[in-house]
């Protein structure tokens, strides 16, 4: 078992780190204030290859694999977690297409997404509840050579920054009656709804998609009718959960760096507080959370690249690392004392960012159901 990163992975990390420090850092205050995604950065990231990191080269991507994707998202998250939040959902869209689209659909929709000409979206969550996928109400009725979509999708990341949407809608009864569609914003009846005002990960747009008798050509059905549930689950397990876990990893890096920096600078009783054992205990806990999360998330990236099924490992990585990020951010705030709860100091933002990662991409409760299933299966 080799725990070292390859030379390629080290160079990828170094390149993205430099980019994040130089290009993203100056935009953070503006993102926090406005909640908007910096579109000019999208172009630069597209040129670098960030948007097409898991898309095969023949469709305009770079095809670097899932472990590389984790590392890249982690480095971006270390500086500004909202950015990899938006990117990871974009990757979910590219993954849905790479895995389930036919040749024509791939040729049409992957290149603009891989190059960053537009962001992608995967819309599963109905107002009726994201955890209850089978209970969704958004429907798609076949009329001639078109599907007519009706309903709304909420809490959709990148909604207002995207032209290409992968939408799950009901074509039949129950869980086996869901289908996936590629919807362009320009289609008749497709509309943008409200924009949410999140407490954290501001800069990743979260909003509503509205379908009022939206006309979707039959050729935009992904796979077959009834494939929707499988597509949604594969998508979340293989791309969504590792993506969110990577965002949490980024947060954990930032949390540890800021906590350690403050502990070294803050003088109490004539010495830096990093000399005090209780502060050291907090730092040790944060360090443990970071290292454990990193091992869990990197393992999922590796398993995906080996094509090994990793439903439980993916759920674990996501649930653990997001919880760890929130737990550690809180400890970091306490290390900062009263400075920690002032808006001027970045550490409070990290807690708010971490809180948003917990329900995003699937609640912790659903993740635990997957983990419990795996635990029970070990009895056999």
């Amino acid at each position: 078992m080799d725990f070292k990163l390859s030379e390629r992975e080290e160079l990828l990390r170094k390149t993205v780190r430099e980019f994040a420090e130089r290009e993203i850092t100056p935009r953070m205050d503006e993102m926090e204030e406005t909640g908007e995604f910096p579109v000019d950065l999208l172009k630069k990231m597209g040129e670098m290859g960030i948007l097409g990191v898991i898309t095969p080269p023949e469709y305009g991507g770079v095809g670097l694999g899932n472990l590389a994707r984790v590392i890249i998202l982690e480095e971006l998250g270390r500086i500004c977690p909202a950015i990899p939040m938006a990117l990871q959902v974009h990757h979910m869209a590219t993954h849905a297409l790479s895995a389930f689209a036919n040749e024509e659909q791939k040729k049409k929709y992957l290149p603009p997404l891989a190059k960053g000409e537009t962001m992608g979206v995967v819309a599963v969550t109905d107002p009726s509840g994201g955890s209850d996928v089978a209970g969704m109400k958004t429907s798609a009725k076949l009329e001639g050579d078109k599907y007519i979509l009706s309903g709304r999708k909420c809490f959709i990341t990148n909604a207002h920054a995207s032209d290409i949407w992968v939408v799950i809608a009901r074509t039949g009864e129950g869980g086996k009656g869901l289908s996936a569609f590629i919807v362009e914003k320009s289609f008749q009846g497709a509309k943008l709804g409200r924009k949410e005002n999140k407490v954290g990960l501001r800069g990743a747009i979260t909003g509503e998609l509205v379908f009022q008798n939206c006309e979707v050509p039959q050729t935009n059905l992904l796979g077959h009718e009834g494939d929707g549930m499988n597509i949604a689950i594969r998508n979340i397990v293989e791309t969504g959960r590792p993506g969110m876990a990577s965002v949490a990893l980024g947060i954990l890096n930032a949390v540890l760096e800021q906590a350690a920096k403050f502990a070294n600078e803050r003088i109490l009783y004539g010495k830096p507080i990093s000399n005090l054992q209780m502060i050291q205990s907090h730092l040790a806990d944060i360090y443990a959370d970071l290292e454990i999360s990193r091992l869990l998330v990197y393992r999922v990236g590796w398993m995906r690249d080996q094509n090994i099924r990793c439903d439980a490992e993916s759920a674990l990585a996501k649930q653990f690392s997001c919880e760890a990020a929130a737990r550690s951010a809180r400890k970091a705030i306490e290390i900062h004392g009263s400075y920690g709860i002032m808006r001027e100091y970045p550490v409070q933002r990290l807690l708010r960012d971490a809180l948003v990662t917990i329900p995003a991409g699937g609640t912790a409760e659903v993740a635990k159901l997957v983990m419990a299933r795996q635990a029970l299966s070990m009895l056999k």
Partner: protein, 274 residues
């Protein structure tokens, strides 16, 4: 155009605080400190890549460094360099700027014809700015430092009727402005930060770089006179090395404004800022 870019790996400034001084050997302990491409060398590489994009040609990366710096050269290739040459030999260790320039000049001779050599004006560790000018002397070509812009190249037809770059017009920083200079090629230019903003490597570039050639040359591959390299070949020697303690001097005065002002100005002047 064939452009040679001289590159030096230097300790990453973000980690300088971790370096320490060996108490008896009087050397800097650099183990475990990651290296980066010297920032101004990145500007030099960027300029070379831009020239290649406009005029066509080849960009060759040249570096004298220990073997573990191969990954630094790989990074330069990922940015767009065509091939790289690493000069690595125990005999080179301890070379001062004169010996280093000599070694680099022998490598350039081995490469053969070239139009332009670009380097960063100075490195962030040594800060001498010597290697560019000294390399130009060893090669018998003109060298211009503090270059902030290459305005244009003038081409002439060579014996075979092909366009060859004959002259360059560049801008050089001086104390209160700049001069515009016309110089004959082949030419060496040491560039400053203002010249451009270096590009980031792209992921596609990183993949391509894995297929590009990095040639490793030792002293025996070059026509090196061993008495001109290493510690023995370096006219300058280090007599002492120390890390000054940042202890604030705490010189407090209470004087009339005129006297205080004059004393303040003296302090500013001593720092070379006025």
């Amino acid at each position: 155009m064939r452009i040679i870019v001289c590159l030096k790996p230097v300790p990453d400034p973000k980690h300088w605080k971790e370096m320490s001084l060996h108490p008896t050997l009087k050397v800097l302990v650099r183990e475990g400190i990651p290296n980066v491409i010297n920032p101004l060398d990145r500007n030099a590489l960027e300029e070379a890549l831009r020239i290649k994009e406009r005029q066509g040609g080849e960009v060759i990366i040249l570096s004298m460094a220990p073997l573990f710096c191969l990954s630094i050269l790989r990074e330069a290739l990922a940015m767009g360099g065509d091939r790289a040459i690493l000069l690595s030999d125990k005999a080179f260790a301890g070379s001062d700027t004169l010996a280093t320039s000599y070694i680099l000049s022998e490598a350039v001779r081995k490469i053969g014809d070239f139009d332009l050599i670009l380097c960063g004006n100075q490195t962030i560790d040594g800060w001498t700015g010597h290697v560019g000018p000294q390399l130009s002397q060893f090669l018998g070509i003109e060298g211009i430092s503090l270059v902030r812009m290459i305005e244009e190249f003038h081409f002439e037809e060579d014996a075979k009727g092909r366009a060859k770059a004959a002259r360059a017009i560049v801008r050089r920083n001086i104390e209160y402005g700049y001069v515009r200079i016309e110089a004959e090629l082949p030419l060496l230019l040491s560039v400053v930060k203002e010249i451009n903003t270096p590009r980031y490597a792209t992921f596609a570039g990183i993949l391509e770089a894995e297929k590009k050639e990095i040639q490793i040359l030792s002293a025996s591959d070059l026509k090196i006179d061993p008495s001109h390299v290493g510690l023995t070949g370096s006219p300058t020697k280090m007599a002492d090395l120390f890390m000054p303690e940042v202890k604030r001097r705490r010189e407090i005065i209470q004087e009339k404004p005129e006297v205080a002002s004059r004393l303040i100005i003296e302090k500013i002047h001593q720092r070379g800022l006025i």
